[in-house]
Symmetry: C2
Subunit: 248 residues, 2 copies
Amino acid sequence: MIAAYDAAMRTIEVSVAVPGSATWWLEHRAREARRRPRTDGLSTGRIIAAALALVDTEGLDALTVRRLADDLATGSASLYRHVASRDELIVLLVDHVIGEVRYPPAGVSGRAKVEVLSIELRRVLMDHANLVPALTASPLLGPNAMRGTENGLAGLIEAGFAPTVAVPAYLALVDFVLGTVFFDTSSAGRSAGVSHSSSDLISELPVDVFPTLRANQGEFELPSIDDVFAFGLTTFLAGLEHRFPLDG
Amino acid sequence: MIAAYDAAMRTIEVSVAVPGSATWWLEHRAREARRRPRTDGLSTGRIIAAALALVDTEGLDALTVRRLADDLATGSASLYRHVASRDELIVLLVDHVIGEVRYPPAGVSGRAKVEVLSIELRRVLMDHANLVPALTASPLLGPNAMRGTENGLAGLIEAGFAPTVAVPAYLALVDFVLGTVFFDTSSAGRSAGVSHSSSDLISELPVDVFPTLRANQGEFELPSIDDVFAFGLTTFLAGLEHRFPLDG
DNA sequence: ACCTGAACACCGTTCAAGT
DNA sequence: ACCTGAACACCGTTCAAGT
């Protein structure tokens, strides 16, 4: 009984929260506050910077604890003094990248602010395309992500939408931005010369089963990934304004 | 010189295509056609079924080649006779799951068909939520995915949109569906009792930096993930019809 | 007290040796 | 010819031994 209780408490103290969850971020903030500086040259900031450089240049798979330790000229065990696990490191990395979003000046508000923020979020994620698969590992609840949510939601409310509309609209918009980023980066594997494009694949399909694709094969060549993003953003906002006409 | 040439050719013959790319799918189809039956009890179909069961019950991380071999009562090396790599297996798994989409009867066309297909794609992916992170590994170009593209695009064209509109609209719509699925499954980490919801996190934020979030905190409790999906789908289609009014 | 070398329990993949 | 046990070159993480 007592042994089981102790074991349970130990689990809780060590932190039961999964990295990236709301609970984890709350605990993380408390942990950072009571942190005392380390005697070695390492810091969470240096680790994150080195990890991001590694991911950007060699991909997410290259981010191993051992390799990162090599880059920082230490042993892998030393990193565990600053970061609890590889998963936690990735969660910190994602919020760090979201922190690269540039916010528009105070004069920009309403729909324009929403558009700028959507474009910015997409820009910083595409700038770190190798990190994108890591976005599925946790919800976006870090401080930088929350700042984006604050501003995006404010933009929609400034634009005149009621909170009951603005909240689902904001969430749907983030879903769309992330979707374009996922899709664009997963299609990126095709290197121009050697590989076939999806259009080449379409021309191999039997015309009786795939009449629409075969007939419109050329259209798939034309829209760039940025075109599709702009098309979707404009169409979504048009639909929002059409469904919920503003009072003014 | 000659050694280098031989090495290059060998690389190409072994297949230079990355699993899931258009080139890979084309090669895959050719490979399947000339495949002769194995003497052991294994088949790609049995492997995929066992892999999916494992992912569904224990998660994507539990899908190791060794564990899968155990489940199939063989050694890990034997699986490499049917599947070239773990990555290839995951690509096959994703298209297999997309194959669970149920198509509407022939009477359903136009906007209704587009809605049904969007809802179906979301349903099958949410049914296999543990597999969702694997969707970022490759573009969706398998036979089952192409069937979905054929039908989705046909729906938009039946609805009266020109191909130059229908193609980007289809791509943006898939981006949105995938985005909601990614977002919903990555937020799923919060188990009801122990964990905090994002709303609990919001109430910890300083009101001077996050006024909009604090003021509208309650709204984030209300919309379920299905509500946000339905909201976004309806809004996007409304925007499409508003921007490109039909002739009829 | 803080740090870390060395070990533990795993991976995906290959290939020589068996049938 | 086909199949696979055993090995290779890695992982993330832990902890006893050092300073």
